[in-house]
Amino acid sequence: MKLRFNRKQLCIPYAVFLVFFVLAPLFVILYYAFTDGQGKISFSNFANFFTNTNTLGTLLYSFSLAIVTTLVCLVIAYPTAYILARSNLKKKYVLLLLFILPMWINFTLRITALKEILSLLEGNISAYPFLNSVIGMTYDFMPFMILPLYTSLLKLDKSLLEAASDLGGNKLTVFLRVTLPLSVPGIISGMTMVLLPSMTNYVVLDMLYNSTYIMGSLIGSYFSAYDWNNGSMISLVLLVIIFIVTLVTNRFSDKDSNARGAVL
C-alpha cells in the first residue's frame, strides 16, 4: 500500500485544530450570548451591551488606550525600523535581534521590571494610570510593530529611491512620496498587530495598578459573578469589532499595493 498525500490533506491537522479550538468555542460563545440564564433565547444581553453606559464607556476607554498605544508604537518604531533597514551595517541582524530580544522574556517578568523602573521615575505610579498603561503596552507590543515595518522597508527597491532623487526630489520629498507610501502595508499590519491585543490585555493594567476596567477585565468580572451570558455577549461584540477593523485595514493595504503598481 502506498501512502499518498495531496496538498489538501496536509491541512487536515490545522482544520482539526480550527474546529476544536476556534469554531467550537465560538459556537459556545454564541450560545451563551443569545440565551438567558435558563437557556431560553434572548436578546436582552445584546440590548444590555448598547444601553449600559458602563460597557460603552469601557469600550471607549479600551479604544483610546489602544489607539494611543498604537500611535506611540508607530512613532517610535518607524524611525527605528527605517534606520535599521537603511543602515549599511553588516551586523544589522544583530541590531534587530536587540529589539526582538525582550520578546523572549516572559512578559509578566518584563512588566514587573517595568513597574520598578516606573516607580523609580515617577515615585507613586498609581497617580498616572493611563500613562503607565500606555507605557506598559508600548513596551510589550513594540516588537510587533518593528518587525512588519522592518520587513516592508527592507523589501523596498533602492532603485526607486535613486530614481526619485535623480528626478529632482529632495530627501523629504523622496521619503514622503516614495518610502512612506510603499511602507503603508507594513504600517497597517503593524497597527493591527498592536491595536487589537492592546484593547483587551488587562494583565498589563492590573500589574501597573490601573483600577479602571478595560474590555478584558469587564468580561472577567461578569464571569466571576457566574454571568456567562453578558460576558459572552461582550466578547462577541468585541470579536465583531475586531473583525470589522481587520476587514477595513485589509482593504486599505490591498489598495496600496495597487498604488504601488501605479508608482511603478
Binding site: T53, L60, S126, G168, S211, A225, D227
Partner: protein
C-alpha cells in the same frame, strides 16, 4: 541441529512459565487503587523541602525518628504513604488548585469533577444550598475513634462544640474547617500620621493617605469594608451580635447605592486594587497600609521582619470578617463510592493531625482550625516569652484552645488600649489568634445569593468608565481630534481636486512645468 532446537524450545518454555508464575504473584500483591481528586487554594498546603534549620523544635509524638516537626516531603505525598500503609487498598491523590472561589465554582459548573474541595464559607453555603455535597460519615465525627484527628482536634469554638460556629450555621458534619481568620489592615506604624487612623476602615478613604493604601480586588472584601465605613457610628456604638450580622450582610438597594458612592471615593483614593501584588508592595514599602486576610498578614509581617521592617496588623474598631475555609466532599465524585469517601475523610483527618497542622501553619502562615496542645506548643515555641524578657503578660487563648490555655508572651508585639487594656492591634500572634474583644465584633459574611448580580453591577459601576461621567472638556478634545483627523484624511484623499489642478498623469510633464 534438532537437538539444539529442542533445548532452545525447552528453555524458552521454562522462561515463559517462570514469567507467568512471577507475574501471578505480582497480581496477588497488587492492591486496588482509588483516585482521590482534591482541589485546594493555591499555596495552601505544605509542599515540604524545608531547610534543615527550619526544624520546629517541639515535642512531636507522631514522628518516628527524633523530635520536632519537619517538612521533608509534601503533605500530599506523606498522606499517600501513610494511607497505603494502613489500608488494604491504595490511594492516589490528584491534587489541583484554584485561585478564587468563583474560579472553583465556574470549573464545577463546567463539569470538572473533584471529590474534595476547600472553598470559603460563602461558597460552602452556596454548594450546600445546591445540594452538591456528601455529608461526613458518623465514624468521621466520632471523637473517641482512633485516628479521627479532626473530630478530636478541631477547636470547639469552630466545630463540634455546642455553640460552635459550624453548628450555628449548619455546616457541622457537612464541611470540615481547614483554616480560619479575620480581615484587617496591615500597616507600617512608622509612616502613619496617627496610629488611630488604622482603627477604622475609613483608612481606605482617608485622603491624608492618598494613593498609599491598597484594597483587595474582590467585591466581597471591598463591600464588607465599605459597609464598615458607612455604618461606622452604629457599629462602634455597640450592637448585639445579631444586629451586627444584619447590618453587615445588608444587600438592600439603598445600601448598595451608598456603598457604590463610597467605593468610588475609595477608588480615587487608593494605590491599587490588588489580587496578589499587595503583599510585595507592603514589604517593599510602596504602600503603608493594606487590606488583608489575617493569614497573609502573618506572611507579610514575617517577610518584612526578614527585611528588618516592622509591620503591624490592625482589626478596625467597626467590625471584622470572620472567615473559614473548609473541606467539602462533592456529590459527583464521592456519592456511592465508599472507598473514595473513606480516603477523602482520611485526607481531612491527616491534615488535622497536629503535626501536619503545625507544618501547614508554618508553611502558609494561616491559622489551622486544629486546637491541639501541640499547636499551642508551636505558638509558644514561636511567640512565647524569652526567659530574660521583662515585660510579659498572659495572652488569653481559652476561647480557642479551651479552659486554662493562655500564652505567656512579651508585651512588645501588642498595643493595649488606654483604660480597658483591650488589644486591637498587634503582630503575628495577634493576627493568628485574635483576642476575645476582636472576636466579639466579628461577623460571618454570608453568600450574596440572588443579590450577587446587583452587587456585581455596582462593582462594575465602580470600576468602569461611565460614558455619562466623561467631562465635556474630554468630549470636546476627543471630538476635535476626531474632526481634525477626519479632515486630514479628506484632504489627503481629495488632494488632487483641491490643490493640484491637473493630476500628473506622466512624471515628465511635471518636471517640464518646473
Amino acid at each position: 541441529m534438532k537437538y539444539l532446537k529442542k533445548i532452545a524450545a525447552l528453555s524458552f518454555a521454562t522462561l515463559l512459565g517462570g514469567a507467568i508464575v512471577v507475574s501471578g504473584a505480582g497480581c496477588a500483591e497488587k492492591k486496588q487503587t482509588v483516585v482521590l481528586r482534591v482541589c485546594n487554594w493555591e499555596e495552601y498546603i505544605d509542599l515540604g523541602d524545608w531547610d534543615s534549620e527550619e526544624l520546629i523544635d517541639i515535642d512531636n509524638p507522631f514522628s518516628d525518628e527524633g523530635e520536632g516537626v519537619f517538612g521533608d516531603n509534601s503533605i500530599v505525598d506523606d498522606f499517600t504513604e501513610w494511607f497505603n500503609a494502613e489500608h488494604d487498598y491504595k490511594v492516589e491523590v490528584e491534587y489541583s488548585t484554584f485561585g478564587t472561589n468563583e474560579d472553583l465554582y465556574n470549573r464545577l459548573s463546567l463539569g470538572d469533577e473533584y471529590d474534595l474541595v476547600c472553598p470559603s464559607d460563602y461558597m460552602l453555603m452556596k454548594l450546600i444550598d445546591e445540594g452538591n455535597y456528601v455529608p461526613f460519615s458518623e465514624e468521621f465525627l466520632d471523637a473517641d475513634r482512633e485516628g479521627n484527628y479532626y473530630a478530636q482536634g478541631v477547636s470547639r469554638y469552630i466545630d463540634c462544640g455546642e455553640d460552635s460556629i459550624f453548628v450555628e450555621y449548619g455546616w457541622s458534619g457537612i464541611a470540615a474547617c481547614y483554616m480560619w481568620g479575620t480581615t484587617g489592615l496591615v500597616y507600617n506604624p512608622e509612616q502613619l500620621q496617627d496610629v488611630s487612623d488604622v482603627a477604622s476602615w475609613d483608612m481606605l478613604a482617608n485622603e491624608n493617605y492618598k494613593r498609599q493604601v491598597t484594597i483587595k480586588d474582590n467585591v466581597r472584601d471591598a463591600y464588607f469594608a465599605t459597609l464598615g465605613i458607612i455604618n461606622s457610628e452604629k457599629l462602634k456604638g455597640g450592637l448585639s451580635a445579631e444586629e451586627r450580622s444584619t447590618v453587615l450582610n445588608d444587600t438592600d438597594d439603598g445600601t448598595i447605592a451608598a456603598a457604590e458612592d463610597m467605593l468610588k471615593r475609595i477608588k480615587e483614593n487608593v494605590y491599587s486594587f490588588e489580587t496578589d501584588s499587595g503583599k510585595a508592595d507592603m514589604v517593599t514599602g510602596k504602600v503603608i497600609a493594606n487590606l488583608q486576610w489575617s493569614g497573609d498578614a502573618v506572611y507579610i509581617m514575617d517577610e518584612a521582619d526578614a527585611e528588618e521592617t516592622e509591620l503591624w496588623y490592625s482589626v478596625p474598631d467597626e467590625c471584622t470578617n470572620l472567615w473559614f475555609d473548609g473541606w467539602l466532599m462533592l456529590k459527583d465524585g464521592v456519592e456511592g463510592n465508599e472507598r473514595r469517601q473513606q480516603a477523602a475523610e482520611a485526607f481531612v483527618n491527616f491534615l488535622s493531625r497536629p503535626d501536619n497542622a503545625v507544618r501547614n501553619m508554618y508553611y502558609i502562615g494561616y491559622t489551622s482550625a486544629v486546637a491541639d496542645g501541640m499547636v499551642f506548643d508551636y505558638m509558644d515555641w514561636n511567640y512565647g516569652a524569652e526567659e530574660d524578657e521583662e515585660e510579659i503578660f498572659e495572652y488569653d487563648l481559652s476561647y480557642f484552645f479551651g479552659e486554662g490555655y493562655s500564652l505567656t508572651t512579651g508585651t512588645a508585639d501588642f498595643e493595649f488600649e488606654d483604660g480597658s487594656g483591650a488589644i486591637n492591634r498587634g503582630r503575628q500572634l495577634f493576627a493568628q489568634y485574635p483576642p476575645a474583644n476582636v472576636i466579639e465584633r466579628s461577623v460571618v459574611m454570608l453568600d450574596f445569593g440572588d443579590r450577587l448580580s446587583v452587587i456585581n453591577g455596582m462593582w462594575i459601576n465602580v470600576r468602569c468608565l461611565d460614558v455619562k461621567d466623561i467631562s465635556p472638556v474630554v468630549w470636546g478634545v476627543v471630538s476635535a481630534l476626531a474632526a481634525l483627523s477626519a479632515g486630514g484624511v479628506c484632504l489627503y484623499v481629495f488632494r488632487y481636486k483641491l490643490f493640484i489642478k491637473s493630476r500628473p498623469k506622466k512624471g515628465y510633464e511635471k518636471i517640464e512645468n518646473k
